[in-house]
């Protein structure tokens, strides 16, 4: 299959495609809602037909004919191969059955440690400048998934030498720290941002710049990272989305809930229509 790249795509569509490319055929993917789920679905509908999505609520392997609106949305149950309980799903992850986990956060450091709990600001954990939702399942994914893909926007206030609070461990303080702490999962494989992709040094486990998105310069990236960033000898340009990936993304998220401004001004009638239509169109994809 020769790859035809898209010329016309949004940044969100590139992120979906980049996430999809991290997934291999046969992977079990612990997918959060939004770009990760879209990425997993795009992977399943292109190069990885045997992907199994695991949803936190306890649904395994859904094949919905509509966009997934939450980790416990009914879409997660639709045509799934197993619906079970939360503790069982996470236990399966701890047992090593989940190949990829996709998580985001507000801050990340050079060892891929993520913070989605609190921004201290002038305060501390107990009197924070900003309270975030917390770990949810992110810590467990970071602990036990075979590998993790981190996604967050590239901004200097987010890419820090040291995060305020480690919600989800990456490589902690580098080298074999994960093994020392007894973490069963493999740790972060990549950080995907709106400007570039980072990967990790196999020995030191420090993040380095692996590729820049089309049109982005290395200097632009360095300017948004708080630590002395290491750069790959041969920095690549991030592979753009293929025509097929963009086409499928637009079908999956026809209402632009995740890839546009679909949430704004969404009336009940438009919403019902969006779902009803998606069912018809998605039947063509499966």
């Amino acid at each position: 299959m020769s790859k035809e790249y898209a010329q016309d795509y949004s940044l969100q569509e590139l992120l979906v495609a980049a996430s999809a490319k991290e997934i291999m055929d046969g992977d079990v993917v612990f997918a959060g809602v939004g770009v990760p789920t879209l990425g997993a679905m795009v992977a399943k509908l292109t190069h990885a037909p045997n992907v199994i999505m695991a949803m936190e609520s306890g649904s395994i392997g859904p094949q919905p004919y509509r966009v997934i609106l939450g980790i416990g949305d009914n879409a997660c149950v639709e045509n799934s191969i197993c619906t079970t309980s939360l503790w069982r799903l996470f236990s399966d992850q701890q047992r090593g059955y989940f190949d990829v986990g996709m998580i985001g956060g507000a801050q990340v450091d050079k060892y891929g440690n993520l913070n989605s709990t609190v921004i201290f600001g002038e305060g501390d954990y107990y009197t924070p400048a900003s309270r975030l939702p917390g770990s949810g399942g992110a810590n467990d994914i970071a602990s036990s998934a075979g590998r993790t893909i981190l996604t967050l926007p590239l901004q200097k206030r987010r890419f820090l030498e040291k995060v305020d609070y480690i919600t989800s461990p990456g490589y902690i303080d580098g080298y074999d720290a994960r093994e020392k702490h007894g973490l069963p999962g493999g740790g972060p494989a990549a950080i995907i941002t709106n400007k570039c992709v980072f990967r990790f040094d196999p020995t030191t486990k420090e993040a380095y710049l692996y590729s820049v998105h089309p049109g982005v310069t290395v200097e632009e990236v360095k300017a948004e990272v708080s630590w002395e960033l290491k750069i790959a000898d041969d920095v690549k340009v991030t592979e753009p989305p293929t025509l097929e990936e963009v086409r499928i993304t637009r079908i999956l998220d026809a209402g632009q809930i995740y890839t546009g401004s679909g949430l704004k001004g969404l009336t009940f009638e438009k919403y019902v229509q969006m779902l009803e239509t998606s069912q018809e169109i998605l039947h063509q994809l499966f």
Partner: protein
């Protein structure tokens, strides 16, 4: 603290109204937990607890939405032992943030876990052991701020494990697809931590979309996730998860939820919402009336296009 008839679990007919069930089993100061994850949330019981003005609850749960954020906003919660509090796609946990950042309406005590380790707390409580070991949380700051989690080398292989303490809430509220009047509860689709919550708690209220006969339960015994001996009360509450989805029953009402969350952004907006949707309607039936049964029926029809329980 709770002084409830210990023989309630033996009653052959446990049907109650939602109002009575909350009044009987949720006194001020209780430790409480709810089922649901993403969808299938216990929204109706949350509104009822707020209406009854119950206070000083200790809340134990994985990733609460309404049950955590709204109860915090309503000033019902003294302490929260949770992993996450927000609303996913439709908006953030504004009440939770206001409580932590600005102590509005008042300060709450917070003890953090992850979703899995909250699940293990319920599992340990359900099987009546003091803790269950895990490999989650290692190397994270959750350990630093939660002194109840102990890290040990296991006595078999010297592996590092975190011990997650059991929890036995005073009361669990579990919302399921259907149940009989004795309390045999069946769920279509994912079941979050419902099966362990119900067993971990000292007392358990099962709310269900539909009460069915025991004969109907007996036709599909594999679907029973909670047997009657773990249940104190059974309450039929259709659409109890609105605006959330419920598997095989009704679709997510995202436009409604988006509007709700927009209101929650300010304290005034939240208070007005409580007045309009919780207090003024006076009951869950009143809430549904206000949402509109036509809209609810549309959500049910919408879901049927996609999934229909084939049991």
């Amino acid at each position: 603290m709770i002084n409830i008839n210990p023989n309630d679990k033996k009653k052959p007919d446990k049907r109650m109204t939602l109002t009575d069930a909350i009044k009987t089993y949720v006194p001020d100061g209780s430790m409480i937990s709810f089922s649901g994850m993403g969808g299938a949330q216990c929204v109706a019981p949350t509104y009822e607890i707020i209406r009854q003005g119950i206070k000083k609850l200790t809340f134990v749960g994985d990733s609460p939405c309404e049950s955590g954020d709204m109860l915090i906003g309503a000033g019902a919660i003294k302490k929260a032992e949770i992993a996450w509090c927000s609303y996913a796609v439709a908006g953030l946990g504004y009440n939770y943030r206001r409580a932590i950042e600005q102590k509005i309406p008042h300060e709450i005590e917070l003890v953090e876990y992850s979703n899995y380790t909250i699940g293990l707390r319920f599992l340990a409580g359900a099987i009546n052991v003091p803790y269950i070991p895990t490999k989650s949380l290692m190397g994270s700051d959750l350990l630093k701020y939660n002194e109840k989690i102990k890290v040990e080398e296991d006595p078999y292989n010297g592996e590092k494990v975190a011990l997650i303490p059991a929890v036995n809430p005073d009361i669990a509220i579990v919302h399921v697809s259907r149940a009989d009047k004795r309390g045999n509860a069946q769920m279509f689709g994912f079941s979050s931590n419902a099966e362990n919550l119900a067993r971990a708690a000292k007392h358990t209220i099962v709310t269900c979309e539909e009460i069915v006969s025991t004969e109907e339960i007996q036709r599909h015994p594999n679907l029973t996730i909670i047997p009657e001996y773990a249940v104190d009360a059974v309450v039929e509450v259709p659409f109890a998860s609105h605006p959330w989805n419920f598997p095989y029953a009704y679709a997510y009402d995202m436009p409604f939820h988006t509007e709700q969350l927009a209101a929650f952004k300010t304290r005034e907006g939240f208070e007005k919402w409580l007045e309009d949707y919780c207090f003024a309607p006076g009951s869950w039936e009143g809430y549904l009336e206000k949402v509109g049964y036509g809209r609810l029926e549309k959500l049910r029809q919408l879901e049927r296009r996609f999934t229909k329980a084939k049991y």
